[in-house]
Symmetry: C2
Amino acid sequence: MAKATRKQRLTKKVYQARAKQLRARLVQLQVELKQVPFKVLLIIAGPEGAGRGNLLNTLAEWLDPRGVETFSYHPPTESEQVHPLQWRFWRSLPGIGRIGLYAGSWYTETLREEARNKRALAHVAHEAERIRDFERLLADGGTLIVKVWLNLSKEAQGRRLRTLRADPLTAWRVTDEDWHHHRSYKRLGKTARLIRRITDRPGARWHEVEAEDERARDLAVAQLLLAQFRQQQRHFARLRPPVAPAVVEPLRPSGRRRLLALPLDQELAERDYDALREEWLGRLSRAARAAFAAGRSLVFVFEGWDAAGKGGAIRRLTSAVDPRDYSVISVAKPTPEEKHAHYLWRFWRDVPRDGRMAVFDRSWYGRVLVERLEGFCREDEWKRAYGEINAFERELTDHGAIVIKYWLHISHAEQLRRFRERATTPHKRHKLNDEDWRNRRKRAAYEIAVGDMLALTDRPAAPWHLIPADDKRYARIEVLSTAARQIEAALED
Amino acid sequence: MAKATRKQRLTKKVYQARAKQLRARLVQLQVELKQVPFKVLLIIAGPEGAGRGNLLNTLAEWLDPRGVETFSYHPPTESEQVHPLQWRFWRSLPGIGRIGLYAGSWYTETLREEARNKRALAHVAHEAERIRDFERLLADGGTLIVKVWLNLSKEAQGRRLRTLRADPLTAWRVTDEDWHHHRSYKRLGKTARLIRRITDRPGARWHEVEAEDERARDLAVAQLLLAQFRQQQRHFARLRPPVAPAVVEPLRPSGRRRLLALPLDQELAERDYDALREEWLGRLSRAARAAFAAGRSLVFVFEGWDAAGKGGAIRRLTSAVDPRDYSVISVAKPTPEEKHAHYLWRFWRDVPRDGRMAVFDRSWYGRVLVERLEGFCREDEWKRAYGEINAFERELTDHGAIVIKYWLHISHAEQLRRFRERATTPHKRHKLNDEDWRNRRKRAAYEIAVGDMLALTDRPAAPWHLIPADDKRYARIEVLSTAARQIEAALED
């Protein structure tokens, strides 16, 4: 862990002179922040009495407030409880070109809970590992995370609390919980060290700052923020922009083999279809209601070739469910705001609450498909995405969501037939655009990317269903029946 | 109320031919919707069994799903309960260029509640009036609201429910509540007519559609949507773009007189300031905590001349409150997304939940200040805004929020002194820009606009405090003491 320790007491005069310089540099930082492609998160943590609030007030005073967002964490609200843990963190990230100041953070609840009821350190370590993974995701995505731990001795903490209590104006700030923390100083310190050790990683380092001299503390944190920002700027200046690959090499050839081995000649007669549809819709409807009643959410992912019939399959699927219980998310090109955010950010926004269902018409897998092949992200980015996506889906399934993923597969010839049909049918014409033809020309490259996706993100808790879709009726029954079966199996576990 | 009644049964063949034409036109509508400056809301309501869900599924099939958002309303969540009623409605509006389809809507809860417990019609009427006001606000802002009431006779409803119940696949859809609705057909119909009568207003008309023939129903709604869209398009084509006024005439000269009569020569010595600050901070801190404990939220609005000291006053104010309980919202120029939305939309997003505090550094009053004077909106728009703002603040205060508004007033000479100081101090330089100088040159016009604002939006429940701010110490004490007093008074009521 980096140390930025200062021992000497600063005089007011020296402090004011240094603060004046720092303020000009901080505001300059904010001007430049609007030009760089990354966000800045400043997390302040430390024992009670270390002055987290005062420090943040000072920083807020030094910075241009229009470029700052302050976050703090209360105990989770009801809508936070019915979503996976990370959901609330993703919702409290600063906007483009802004600094996020965190009075509380993802560390707050973990530390607070531990203070209230002594927990097994193994449990705390597990929580810390989840935080580490979340921060790694942000840091890998380019976010600068500066984490400050304010050091304060037990004696100094006692003095602070007594001073606050003695003043009628500030006495209310000192709660019983604070005194409890004070008495448990040693134990909490040990826990905090464990958490810091686990979460001190490249891109999200902890910096210890001595908090006894308030002036020195404020200056040290401001200087640290400036230094880290410059370092991140240099890092980004060295990065080369992504390019579309000239040759697409598979990471896992087995995935592509699995895709191409799928028989596409299955068919279903209209009469058989009607009977099977009734049967499976009923079973799916019962399974979905049982899942909702158990507080489980359903997350459907539809990927597939253009014109593979995703829309039609989705409409049959949703007809089994009360319209108030589901939403369909059609994933289009990212908006400017979404482009500046982590690629998973916009999907977190649509993660359903417990007992509801979300259907993604295209999804986060765009990262390893179109973004990989069109050079919308760097090679290290899409290569990292398989693990990130697995971790994302694990957050969902660990929370109780049932994640059901489809690849709708059609032959190159059938796709051409459907494209031509679209081109000549007025109300279907809007479904066909230049990008569809571009993607069609890249079929061979896409087969490799799809294969890698299937091989690298097919996990028992979030499996891929490959659906032969040259025959629409057959495909729709396959979608309904695999959905019903996966939900039934998940509820039996 | 407009009628789009159809009695004859449609054959499947005729239906399919008409549907094909309508689909092409609907998709064309969606293409054009991306070019027009308004949003489209389609609200479907009607008795159980009228097929709201089926109708929406059909429309969703006909439209390009990428341009559609479907909304439905569950009973309010905890986070919705701790905000004013309108908060959840504002959060469920479609994005730019999209159609919002409402399976449930703001009508759902009102109708559902009435069905459960027979309520006094006066209460229902009151709810309907609030909905009417909300819709008027949206419609005045240019949103096209198409409201469809599906007509279904009691006999037809009974047949539908029995058919659904007989089929194992759909039996689950028929709940005890539905049968209860069926038995109360007459009473609920009367209530629904009352609600429709109250909420049938220009810009948000109800259209009755016969629902017994499902095919005719779907076609009628699609045609209605198309016709309404064309009408709105023509309306917008006739509108002339806003222009900055050549001469600014006061609406209420008394407001400007009140502003200019404010004595600016008050001063406070540093020693007096320190004592008064301690006293008022303590009193404010106690009052704020009492408000939070009572589940009341605090909404502060800071308006004033450039360089009047809003930032400094806000920092003193917030130092009385736990950082986890407040947020400061610095209102900058709207983002592209915000520009396309109703001007109040972005402020609703930041309305605090019960027991929290929000401080707006500039606010919705920009509509009647900078937007009026710079011609960012039309004359009818800013003239309407006074009433809209009063209604908005009334939503807040009716829900229990305490709304405290300041105008920080400095002389033209003092402003010049502060501008010059900013220009020569490195860490203050970013606070001064060309717009500040532009606004300064328009002082006379702004005095008129500020005067109108004070005269037209000063209500007992949300009063304006005029703060003489040439002396910063005096101004800060005034801010603290008026805040403490207003909160204390509000809690006594």
